[in-house]
């Protein structure tokens, strides 16, 4: 575990931002739509990265907060009117945060693999509540038929029905979440989380209320997942219990690991990589009739990635840097003993 949040991979972030901002002029509407979806998943993955890479808490039930926010948005929006965007957004995010607060307060008593499993248990409970009861339309799910609107004194700055507007709305939120988390992780709060990840006992002995810190991180991560969940509901207008399923929790965890846990941009890269790989492997244009065996290709690629890229896709550069640092340091300490 290296301490490197202070060093922001600025170049990456700026390049990605410019590339994403330029995309709509280079790409087909479908690409824009797909990228919107990937950016939503990237926000989702970033929220989990705060827990996995930032705090060392591996949650296997993160889809619950995503789903709760999506359901909150779909269920609480008025049926025949456009909902107020800021209001619905706030409600969805707060709903996710509230559920994360309840779950977090309980599950943070456990550790390691047990933590992984209890988070899963609470997510499954939420899943079955939406799947088996009439709260959210059962297994068929519910719709959000009219997209929420932002009106400032009768003026509408943008219209989410327009795919391009939605794209930029998502991009702005993604950038905001990324910047927010970058600041957060290099702030004192973030450093305390990093300390907790590495050595919680020491942090407590130094005087940090580590439980409160972890709970704050857990709720924050839940709320950020809620941002993604809100966007998902608003984009497609279709919310289904499967959003809370363990497949979904697993998928977002995979994005974080594949991109490289411990690096913020890893979550973004992971979201793009996993979605695009699947897109590519399932595409008949590229793989012809073998495309129906896309799972085989995706599975094999994942296995190869684990074997060859232990630190994830974004870890390659860091590994080289760490190796150099170690070598330099080894030279230094050898020199010190000589003296």
């Amino acid at each position: 575990m290296r301490f490197r949040f202070a060093r922001l991979p600025m170049a990456f972030a700026l390049f990605a931002l410019v590339a994403l901002a330029a995309l709509p002029w280079l790409a087909t509407p479908y690409m824009v739509d797909l990228t919107t979806k990937i950016m939503i998943m990237a926000i989702f993955a970033l929220s989990l990265e705060l827990l996995v890479g930032g705090t060392g808490l591996v949650s296997f039930g993160h889809a619950a907060y995503f789903g709760v926010a999506a359901y909150a948005a779909a269920l609480l929006a008025p049926k025949y009117d456009a909902a107020s965007l800021p209001l619905l957004f706030a409600i969805a995010v707060l709903a996710a945060g509230a559920y994360a607060l309840v779950v977090g307060a309980l599950v943070l008593r456990t550790r390691g693999i047990y933590f992984i499993m209890v988070t899963l248990a609470f997510a499954q409970m939420a899943y079955y509540i939406f799947h088996d009861t009439k709260v959210g339309g059962g297994s068929d799910g519910v719709y959000l038929n009219i997209k929420p609107e932002l009106t400032i004194l009768g003026w509408k700055p943008f219209n989410l029905d327009n795919g391009l507007h939605f794209y930029f709305f998502t991009l702005v939120l993604l950038a905001a979440v990324f910047v927010f988390l970058t600041l957060l992780l290099r702030s004192r709060f973030g450093c305390a989380l990093a300390g907790i990840r590495v050595n919680e006992t020491r942090m407590r002995a130094a005087g940090f209320p580590t439980y409160s810190y972890k709970l704050a991180a857990f709720v924050l991560a839940g709320m950020l997942a809620g941002v993604a969940g809100f966007l998902f509901a608003a984009k497609d207008g279709f919310v289904n219990p499967e959003l809370l399923s363990w497949h979904q929790s697993g998928a977002v965890l995979l994005m974080v690991i594949l991109g490289g846990a411990g690096r913020l941009h890893g979550a973004v890269v992971g979201a793009f990589a996993l979605t695009l790989l699947q897109e590519a492997f399932a595409s008949e244009a590229i793989f012809g009739s073998f495309a129906k065996h896309w799972q085989l290709l995706l599975g094999a690629t994942i296995i190869l990635a684990v074997a060859l890229l232990p630190e994830g896709l974004t870890g390659v550069a860091d590994e080289i840097r760490a190796w150099r640092l170690r070598r330099r340091d080894a030279g230094q300490s050898a020199g010190a003993t000589d003296a």
Binding site: F3, F189, C191, V198, T201, R204, F208, P209, R326, S333
Partner: protein
């Protein structure tokens, strides 16, 4: 009489059926190094863990500055001025030496909500960390990774991290373990320098060191206090010689 900073009264702690600490009382005064000796498994580390609140569910009363802190959680005790070091080096191996100390110092100045400022730019914790590193003799090593330093240096860092939290009471669990002769001397000098405005509990196996610096020695056997007196009196105590010093020689 010097001012009592930490007073522990009738501390007991059991694990299942096993009594690890049995009705132990002791007082730590400002200006004093209080040595705690005893064989392995005598309950010394357990006692420290109870005093700092790392272990919960003990009987007895712990007072800091005359205030009952028995019900306080560990982090609150730490922030009230109770600092400790660990017997086994317990640092953040992937962080730099400076960051280790700075993070410890940050405990006294947490402000988790101030997101705009990078942690590394926090002047308060940075200054405290720098002072602690100087005291512990780690100046010049700030930017090395803690995990790949020599063992003795890691022990120094352990102390520096404890000092960085600006404690008034130091509970040091075998700080000299694994240190070379030169480093030991330096560490003892450091402790003697700190003595003036700290109360120090020193758990140690190095008897020479103990008798050199301490003004009070408590001997624990099987979780109980066997004797507690000035070093000369302990050296002369037949029960202690029988149970501990004799056995060792």
């Amino acid at each position: 009489m010097r001012e009592v900073l930490l007073r522990a009264t009738a501390i007991s702690k059991t694990f299942g059926g096993l009594i690890a600490v049995d009705n132990v009382s002791l007082e730590l005064r400002r200006g004093e190094i209080h040595a705690l000796i005893g064989t392995n498994g005598a309950g010394k580390s357990t006692l420290i863990n109870v005093l700092t609140g790392e272990l919960r569910g003990a009987n007895g009363r712990v007072e800091l500055d005359g205030q009952d802190i028995s019900a306080w959680p560990q982090h609150r005790r730490a922030r009230a001025g109770l600092g400790r070091s660990y017997q086994r080096t317990n640092i953040f191996p992937g962080f730099t030496v400076f960051e280790n100390c700075r993070l410890a110092a940050q405990a006294g100045h947490q402000r988790p909500w101030s997101l705009a400022q990078a942690a590394g730019r926090c002047a308060v914790s940075g200054g405290a960390a720098q002072r602690a590193l100087r005291l512990a003799g780690l100046e010049g090593h700030e930017h090395r990774l803690a995990g790949i330093m020599a063992h003795g240096q890691q022990r120094q860092l352990e102390i520096a991290m404890c000092l960085a939290t600006a404690p008034r009471v130091l509970l040091l669990d075998e700080p000299l373990a694994g240190m070379g002769a030169e480093e030991t001397v330096r560490m003892l000098e450091l402790l003697q320098g700190l003595q003036a405005d700290h109360a120090i509990l020193l758990v140690e196996h190095d008897m020479d060191a103990v008798f050199r610096v301490s003004s009070q020695v408590t001997v624990m056997v099987d979780g109980k206090v066997l004797a507690s007196a000035a070093p000369e009196a302990i050296r002369a105590n037949p029960a202690v010689q029988q149970a501990y010093l004799g056995g060792a020689q």
